[in-house]
Every structure is written in C-alpha cells, then in structure tokens.
C-alpha cells in the first residue's frame, strides 16, 4: 500500500497534539488557580506523549526519529490545525479551545480504534482512555462557567464565537481523504465533524452558551497543508531552542 495517505493522517494528528501540548504547557505557573495550573500542565504532558506515540509510528514507516521530526521542521512543514497554534490569550479562550479540540480528538481516537492500520488502532485504544480525562475536565468547566455569572458566560461566548472558525479548520480534508476512507484507515473528517457537532451541541445545551450561526462563518483552513498563522514559527523557535543549541543534550 502507498503510505502517503497514512503518513499525512499521522502527521496532522501528531502535530496537533505536539503544538497544543506546547501551548498547554505555557499555562504552567500561570493558571488562574493551582488546580488549573496542574490540569493544563498534565494535559500538556499527555499530549506530548500522544505526539511521541504517533511520531514513533511515523518513524516505523521510514520517517526520521521523533525528536528530529518534532524539533527540526519549520512552520510550513507542520500539519497542525491553526486552532492549536493560536496563543493562549485569556483563560476563557484556552478553555474553549481545549473543549472544542479535545471533544474532536476524543472522538477521532475513538473512531481510530477501528482503523485497518493495526499499529494506529493500538495507539488509539490507549490514548482514548487518557482523553476521557481531558474531555471530563473541559466539560466540567464549560458546565460550571457556562452557566455561572454574566461575566463568565459572556467571556466564554465571545471566545466561542472567535474560536469556531478555527475549530472548523480541524476538519480540513487531506488530499488523500478518499484513499484514507476507502482503505479503512479512518472514517474521514466529514464523519468526525458530524459527530463532533452533535457532541458539542449536547454539552452546550446544558449551559447558557450557544453555537454561532454556521451559515455565516467560514472555516479557517490551511494548517493541514503547512499554511499557518504568524504564531506558529515563534512557538517552534522557543520549543526547539535547546535542541538546536545541543541536539544530543541529555535530560
């Protein structure tokens, strides 16, 4: 089998996890309360671990080793969705992004447990259990803050409206979408998006938040083909600084 469709899928998932993992780690020491500091730091560690598992699969398919892949590419070689690279901004945005992204990611890995590519199905079976804690965390806070005070509701709503076009970019289709679906590697971005929307609506229906009108929003795409916002390269520069100074550094 031609591996390009599979590699494309693995790269975009791994890059999403790495980049959002890095953003989450930027909350370490800055969380609005200690528990949130720990939560975002733990999710960062999980996500970087997930990216490692996926980069390892790529390595087994002939790509470079995980560290090289993670630390030596430039922004235009990354396949993450633009949503994941946006700066953390205020906590309300980070929480909304975490909710929208992890809801999609949990469903994606759930679907991938059925993948025809067995090594990916194995990783998915592992990761989906861990992601339950991420979605539990997101749901708990969206429920609480999404029905709390006027300020918490309006801030979350504003962030939700802002984040939604970027969140839709998660589902930007790959040029190999048909092969991926036909070969049973993954059910595809459209199927994922449908499930995601149902789940997001279900959770928001218990809060005072509402989804923006999809007729008037345009998905922000490009991330999957290496066209990123101005925010990614500075993130990569920071993330890879030690590696570039001393590639053989022992941690």
């Amino acid at each position: 089998m031609n591996n390009l469709p599979l590699k494309e899928l693995l790269y975009k998932m791994a890059d999403d996890q790495l980049i959002l993992g890095h953003r989450n780690s930027e909350w370490t020491g800055f969380g609005p309360l200690l528990e949130e500091d720990i939560a975002f730091s733990s999710m960062a560690q999980d996500k970087v671990g997930h990216s490692l598992a996926l980069y390892t699969l790529l390595n087994q398919l002939g790509e470079s080793d995980p560290d090289t892949v993670a630390f030596t590419r430039n922004a235009n070689q990354f396949h993450n969705s633009i949503l994941t690279e946006l700066p953390n901004q205020e906590y309300d945005f980070s929480l909304i992004r975490h909710f929208l992204y992890d809801t999609a990611e949990a469903l994606r890995f759930e679907m991938l447990t059925q993948s025809s590519y067995e090594p990916l199905a194995q990783v998915a079976k592992k990761v989906r259990g861990e992601l339950r804690y991420h979605t539990l965390h997101a749901k708990t806070w969206i429920n609480q803050l999404g029905s709390a005070t006027e300020e918490s509701i309006s801030r979350l709503q504003k962030s939700l409206d802002y984040a939604m076009p970027f969140a839709l970019g998660i589902f930007e289709e790959s040029p190999y979408e048909k092969q991926i679906v036909d070969n049973g590697i993954f059910e595809g971005e459209q199927a994922l998006k449908t499930k995601w929307l149902t789940r997001v609506e279900e959770i928001l229906s218990n809060t005072s938040l509402h989804l923006p009108d999809f007729k008037i929003i345009h998905p922000v795409t490009g991330g999957r083909i290496g066209k990123h916002s101005e925010h990614l390269q500075p993130l990569l520069d920071e993330m890879s600084e030690v590696f570039r100074i001393d590639p053989g550094a022992e941690w």
Binding site: A39, D46, G49, K125
Partner: protein, 163 residues
Amino acid sequence: MIAPTPSIDTIYEWLEDVKDPEIPVLSLVDLGVITNVEINDKKVTIELTPTFAGCPAMEVMKSEVIEKLKSKGINDAAVNISFRVPWSSDFITEKGKKALKQYGFAPPPSNKLFVDLEILENAICPRCDSTNTEMKNAFGPTLCRSIYYCHQCKEAFEQFKPL
C-alpha cells in the same frame, strides 16, 4: 562463569524488585506493565507497555529492567516499549492494589465500571474507607493520579486513576 538460562517465571520474580519510580511500593509486575517476556537462546526480550503515553518514568523503568537483568548475569537483554497490549489500571494485581492503599493511595476501581467518569466522584478514602469523597482535580502530581478530598476524615488523598 556462564549463568544458566533462567526460566520466564524467574525473570518475573526478578522484576518484582524493580519498582515504579513514581510509586516505589509498586513493582513493575504488580503495576501490570510487563506484557511479555521472551527467552531466545541467551537473549531476554521484555515487552513494556506504557501506563500513560506521556509517562516520563518509562525510560527509567526500561533502564532499571536492563540493570536488574545485568545484575543477574543477563547481558543480552532488550526492552521494547509497545502499545501491543494497551495498559489498563485493571492490570494492577491485587497485591499491587493493597500496596497502593497502604501507601495512602486509593486503588483504581475496575475500569469496566466506568463507562462514564461519574463513578470517579465516589472514590473510597484509603484512610477511613468512606465514600463521602469529592474529586478536586482529575489531574494530580503525576499523570496517573487524581486528587480527592474526604469529607469524613477531612483529609486530601490521591487515587490511582482508572484507565
């Protein structure tokens, strides 16, 4: 001197001495992360499954296994970290769960119980066995632990996460 080839059971016995670096009362065998042991001629190959994909202790466990085998005269050993058998907290042995409780951690409830994470609300306090407890944070000092508060004995405690 050439050491005789050990049996697989003997290797498991040796690995009882290798502890989880983050929870030093728990051996790797009791933690359930040893998913295969193979002896081929003189070469010993151990398969290790990660508890959490991002667990930073994996590399430490790997090198400690190699060290342990070396101390027993096995110089040709390999440890492969693999997702072939995805780890679940149900892999922790009864002995391991007991050790966790003695150490002050609530052992994980059976993974099969928690279709929904709501079950996590009623962890059993490892000190007083009360279920009048509240989850304070799904995330704790390490990836595998959550933080709870017991309303009965008014103490905070940690639970090994069901996964």
